[in-house]
């Protein structure tokens, strides 16, 4: 821990030496900047329906001899694709990050409790994790969101879709964190310094926070990259099924769903651009995750 500055410069050097990781980091930074600064950069406000004109619908991107206002063309409602994509990427990133934070919060608490206290509590919590995992997140999310949508009505759903999606993905994936943290806690608990801390009478909470939690940091960092990418994919898949973000406040997935109707009529850009952006986003996160995994090389709990 006290070698932090040293570690820091090593990480940076390793990042720059690995060409794939360096490019991924650069792409990811650019995407984050563009997406979170979308209200500043975007030429139009894609959430304001009064700004689109149906006469502008399905204008191809520049190079197709089209309108100079719409660099990447427009969709079926005459909405500027570039603006919609920047805002959409922002929504996808927000969902990915917050859903992962929620997963981590639940998972760390459950994992620490299971690993440190062990016994019946441990087997009970891990059994729940098993059952939870055997229903895949996508399935759980589809059912819950469908029920939610049907019971509150579409209008209300559009209002609260973001919160609902974050909650569903966050709650459905906690076992990933819980298992990793539990494995770390079990390994650390056996070590002598934890015994020593217990012998001098430190309360369990202090031992967990000061001695065990810091050791779970690197595996958590590695799975977090994967989890953010997966959460973004899950949201996009839900959106494609019509259960994600509504088309009035579209995520990248909603934009793709919206564009799929036009693919047979040749308006490829309505699907292709958001799709490319989505893949670039997920790929850069995953490649950085791979690099991080090689760098930190934690023994991840598998199954």
């Amino acid at each position: 821990m006290n070698a932090a500055p040293h570690l820091h410069s090593n990480v940076l050097r390793s990042l720059l030496r690995d060409r794939t990781a360096a490019v991924s980091a650069a792409v990811l930074c650019a995407l984050l900047l563009a997406a979170l600064g979308a209200p500043l950069f975007a030429p139009f406000d894609p959430w304001d329906q009064t700004q689109f004109d149906i006469m502008d619908a399905e204008i191809p991107p520049l190079g197709g001899g089209a309108d100079a206002r719409f660099v990447l063309g427009t969709d079926g409602m005459g909405r500027d694709m570039l603006s919609a994509m920047l805002y959409g990427a922002g929504i996808s990133i927000v969902i990915g990050v917050f859903a992962t934070l929620l997963q981590a919060a639940i998972g760390v608490v459950v994992g620490l409790a299971a690993g440190y206290f062990g016994g019946r509590l441990d087997s009970f919590l891990m059994r729940i994790a098993d059952i939870q995992l055997s229903f895949t997140t996508l399935m759980v999310a589809i059912v819950i969101l469908a029920v939610f949508q049907a019971s509150v009505g579409l209008r209300f759903y559009e209002e609260y879709a973001l919160v609902a999606i974050v909650l569903v993905i966050g709650i459905a994936e906690w076992p990933q964190y819980a298992r990793t943290v539990r494995a770390c806690a079990l390994a650390e608990k056996k070590k002598e310094y934890v015994d020593a801390a217990r012998v001098i009478g430190l309360p369990p909470f202090t031992i967990l926070r000061r001695h065990i939690l810091p050791n779970t940091f690197s595996p958590l960092l590695v799975i977090s990259t994967v989890q953010v990418a997966n959460a973004i994919i899950t949201e996009a898949s839900l959106a494609f099924l019509g259960l994600g973000m509504p088309v009035t406040k579209p995520s990248l997935g909603s934009l793709i769903r919206n564009g799929f109707e036009f693919i047979f009529s040749g308006a490829w850009w309505i699907t292709a651009f958001p799709a490319l952006l989505l893949v670039a986003l997920i790929l850069s996160i995953n490649l950085l995750g791979d690099w991080l995994r090689d760098l930190l090389n934690p023994r991840l709990y598998r199954r």
């Binding site: 059952i131 995992l133 055997s134 229903f135 895949t136 996508l138 399935m139 589809i142 059912v143 469908a146 029920v147 049907a150 019971s151 990418a229 994919i233 996009a236 898949s237 494609f240 099924l241 019509g242 997935g253 793709i256 799929f260 693919i263 047979f264 040749g266 490829w268 699907t271 799709a275 989505l278 893949v279 997920i282 790929l283 995953n286 490649l287 791979d290 598998r302 199954r303």
Partner: protein
């Protein structure tokens, strides 16, 4: 072995009870079954009579017990839309989904083992780098995007392959399959590839990393010191140890594949369970949704049990006596 099966059976019953309870409890949330059945035109009094008659006014637990008794006899309610028993509707759609899953599994098995093993044995070979790069891309492209891309390329642009439906099917032993006709296979090609595209890269990576770890193991060095041929060292000593984690994770992945059929079938309008499920959700066809969840839950439970048994057969350290050693 017997004790093991018994224990698994007990677990399966508990899991199925939980699933059925959850599924049943969402029934109330998804609209009024009466309106779905008789429409809006009936008077309020007749409605109330009907409600009483159908037992819709009974306490929740009583309704659930009635539902359970029905479920045990294979009666999962009647689909509002199809006006037929929900289980019959699902069983009609099941073969299409099984075709799809079988074909995707075929691609996965065909490519993941040789590619993963090759990449582990020759980590610096250009082909290994290519395979690892492609698998990183494969993991990052959502399954519905792969499907859309395949449709756009092979159906819209090139016009080589159909973009929707199952095509011609034949029936053997009551199973209606598209695997036996040329037309059926042509229809199956794109959906099965896109379904496999999510799982295949995961398998390639997993087999590679497990195999690399096994190749570094001391028993592999000892196998070489015994003068075994390199092929035997790799395929018997290293690969057999690679299989254990792959079987465990593979079982979970099959469950994930069933969930992904919803996406694939939707894009390709494949007349299977997944597409049916999404339509049922859009139509608020509650009995069909509940029946689907129960059937899928049953499939998960069966697959997990089979995976555990296979794992026990491959791993000598697990005796199938009920507890893992």
């Amino acid at each position: 072995m017997f004790a093991f099966l018994l224990r698994r059976l007990g677990q399966a019953v508990v899991v199925m009870l939980v699933i059925s309870l959850l599924s049943f409890s969402i029934q109330d949330e998804l609209g009024d079954p009466l309106r779905e059945l008789v429409g809006q035109s009936v008077s309020e009094e007749t409605r109330e009579e009907l409600r009483e008659e159908m037992g819709l006014n009974d306490p929740f637990l009583a309704q659930y017990m009635r539902f359970l008794r029905g479920a045990l006899r294979g009666d999962l309610g009647v689909s509002y839309f199809f006006k037929r028993p929900a289980l019959d509707v699902i069983l009609d759609k099941l073969p299409a989904t099984i075709d799809l899953v079988l074909a995707a599994t075929f691609w996965i098995l065909l490519f993941s083992v040789p590619v993963g093993v090759f990449a582990a044995v020759n980590p610096r070979h250009w082909f290994s780098n290519l395979a690892m790069g492609l698998s990183a891309v494969g993991i990052s492209v959502p399954v519905f995007l792969t499907a859309i891309f395949l449709i756009y390329l092979f159906s819209v642009e090139l016009g080589w392959l159909p973009s929707y439906g199952r095509g011609e099917t034949t029936e053997i032993f009551g199973w209606e399959t598209g695997l036996l006709t040329r037309d059926g296979l042509r229809h199956l090609l794109l959906p099965s590839i896109s379904l496999a595209s999510v799982i295949l890269p995961l398998f390639v990576r997993m087999i590679r990393s497990e195999m690399m770890e096994a190749l570094e193991a001391e028993y592999v060095r000892f196998a070489r010191a015994k003068g075994l041929r390199e092929g035997r060292v790799r395929m018997v000593h290293a690969f057999k140890n690679t299989l254990l984690p792959v079987i465990t994770v593979g079982g979970v992945q099959i469950g994930i594949m069933v969930a992904y059929t919803i996406l694939t079938e939707t894009v390709f309008q494949w007349p299977g369970m997944g597409f049916m499920f999404l339509e049922a959700i859009n139509r608020a066809d509650t009995p069909l949704i509940v029946a689907y969840l129960i059937v899928v839950g049953l499939i998960f439970v069966i697959v997990n049990t089979v995976v555990d048994i296979v794992y026990g057969l491959v791993n000598p350290a697990v005796k199938l006596t009920g507890k893992p050693a």
